[in-house]
């Protein structure tokens, strides 16, 4: 069984991709294709996590940070879109770099959804929070992110981008109604949720930034974690 696992998985993936393409081209039915594409977007960074040299300390560090991000979502469960997850992912990516940020964001989405319920939105959330971490890591050495206001603006923008990525999933289910009107309506109806997310990002970032960056940087230095990036 173990010997056949990889060929079997690859064959299965190919099979689903072909089915998705057929459904999309033949019947203009895009739900399956969209899920396949999101999975493909998540794939490379997880492959890299499997392949690269990684100390057990670094692995545990990633697990702790994703778990903290996932736990932080629980007390705010009653308020939709108010989640400190994005803020924690941004701060971790700021200290530990883009790849670590992506993994922390994606795993935090996966783990917190065990408590909130998995659904077709799980891969999209994994992708969206992963991208939050990835971009924060890419921009961490720019002058913009170095200033506190720059980081707050970054969090604010991602509050909206996150909601917009999640909206794609909804729009894709109506291929025939696709028009700028539908897009505008979908984005207008999510505006208040996105605004709440953006403002809560600013709020949590301004509260957490100073202390957490100091703590994380000290750990990074003391134990020599994820230094090579």
């Amino acid at each position: 069984m173990a010997r056949f696992r990889f060929p079997l998985l690859i064959a299965l993936a190919l099979f689903v991709v072909i089915l998705a393409l057929t459904a999309a081209l033949k019947d203009r039915h895009y739900i399956l294709l969209s899920l396949v594409l999101v999975a493909a977007a998540l794939f490379p960074l997880f492959v890299r996590l499997e392949r690269r040299a990684l100390e057990s300390r670094e692995l545990v560090l990633l697990a702790v940070l994703s778990a903290v991000a996932a736990v932080s979502r629980i007390p705010f469960a009653a308020l939709p879109s108010v989640k400190p997850v994005s803020a924690i992912v941004i701060l971790s990516a700021y200290v530990f770099g883009a790849e670590a940020g992506f993994i922390i964001g994606a795993v935090a989405a996966l783990v917190s959804n065990i408590y909130f319920g998995q659904g077709p939105w799980t891969p999209w959330q994994m992708f969206a929070w992963g991208m939050v971490g990835l971009t924060a890591g890419w921009l961490r050495n720019t002058r913009w992110m170095r200033t506190r206001t720059g980081m707050l603006i970054f969090g604010f923008i991602w509050g909206f981008l996150f909601g917009w990525i999640m909206n794609i999933w909804y729009i894709i289910s109506l291929p025939d109604a696709f028009s700028w009107g539908l897009v505008a309506a979908a984005y207008a109806s999510s505006f208040y949720f996105d605004l709440a997310h953006a403002l809560s990002n600013v709020f949590f970032l301004s509260l957490l930034a100073g202390g957490w960056i100091k703590v994380l940087q000290r750990f990074r230095k003391k134990y020599g974690l994820l230094q090579q990036e």
Binding site: L19, L49, L61, L62, G117, L174, A177
Partner: protein, 314 residues
């Protein structure tokens, strides 16, 4: 307790849910979608998950219902115009398409609800631990940390409140600052401790060789039979889909739905696929019922065919 469909090998459950999801996303026919939805719903009800489902239902209805409303408002394809709304034609076809999409989404939501109950995290990890060992270990550790951190946060709150740091009293500014102090304590404590356990992992030789995996699940004869039944019926359904069956043509003009012989055969195999777990669950219920009827409950001998986790690990 784990019994019935829940006690089957994880591969069976995964094949079942992957198939259900695939069919929900591929087949575009009200009869098929309704069959799938009702099948999974009755499975959930038999497993006594009705109350949990009811709690999530408003959200599901809101999401799916909005699709049904949005489609006719923005799509004006179709030949039969029902009426005009703000000079925009509302067509029968667009309404039907919206309703179909609503069915698709509802089915997917309900399938995931059932998946959450049946494929628990350990089963999922068992299936994927060998393919992606590091990702599996990482997510497993994170999952394990969540309840630990919640417990720790309660301890920290209790201890810090003796020195006046708590989030329940004082001005808003002070309370927020205190809350952040608590979180920072949690972060440093957990990181210190986790890095120690990482060191002990290393000392015990983690990462020296390829990770081996321990499997608690064994494929027994019933699992294999069910796997074969699911695979064959699923493939027959897919073949039917490739033939162009089970696709309701709505645009540009709705075609009358003719249930041909081929489609009927496909529907039969689809029903077999969807209803197999229900049959297992029902058989289990029946065996428990009839075992209660004869003799003392405490001395009831183990009936052949009753499956439960405790029974198999013996």
């Amino acid at each position: 307790m784990n019994k019935g469909f829940r006690s089957m090998h994880p591969a069976v459950a995964l094949l079942y849910y992957a198939g259900l999801l695939l069919f929900a996303a591929l087949l575009f026919h009200p009869v098929f979608l309704l069959t799938e939805m009702i099948g999974v719903l009755s499975l959930l009800l038999m497993q006594r998950q009705g109350r949990h489902l009811l709690r999530a239902l408003p959200f599901y209805l809101l999401m799916a219902g909005s699709v049904a409303v949005m489609n006719p408002l923005f799509s004006h394809r179709g030949a039969n115009i029902l009426f005009y709304l703000l000079d925009q034609p509302i067509t029968l076809e667009a309404v039907l398409y919206g309703v179909m999409m609503m069915l698709v989404l509802l089915t997917i939501f309900i399938v995931f609800r059932s998946y959450n109950y049946t494929v628990t995290t350990d089963k999922f990890m068992y299936l994927f631990a060998a393919a992606a060992p590091r990702t599996a270990l990482l997510s497993l550790m994170a999952i394990r940390f969540v309840p630990l951190f919640q417990r720790r946060l309660r301890q920290i709150t209790l201890i810090q409140s003796t020195r006046g740091i708590n989030v329940n009293s004082g001005k808003l500014r002070k309370r927020m600052k205190d809350g952040m102090t608590l979180l920072k304590v949690l972060l440093t404590w957990s990181l210190e401790e986790a890095l120690q356990s990482a060191d002990s992992m290393k000392a015990r030789g983690y990462g020296i060789r390829k990770r081996s995996t321990y499997g608690i699940y064994k494929l027994d004869r019933q699992d294999i039979w069910i796997l074969i039944v699911l695979a064959v019926s699923g493939l027959c359904t897919l073949l039917g889909w490739l033939q162009g069956y089970a696709m309701l043509e709505i645009y540009p003009r709705m075609k009358p739905a003719v249930f041909s012989w081929g489609e009927a055969a496909m529907f039969a195999s689809f029903c077999l696929f969807v209803l197999t777990p229900l049959g297992l669950e029902g058989k289990e219920k029946w065996l428990w019922r009839s075992s209660r009827r004869s003799g003392y409950p405490s001395v009831t001998p183990m009936k052949a065919g009753i499956r439960s986790m405790s029974f198999r690990s013996r």
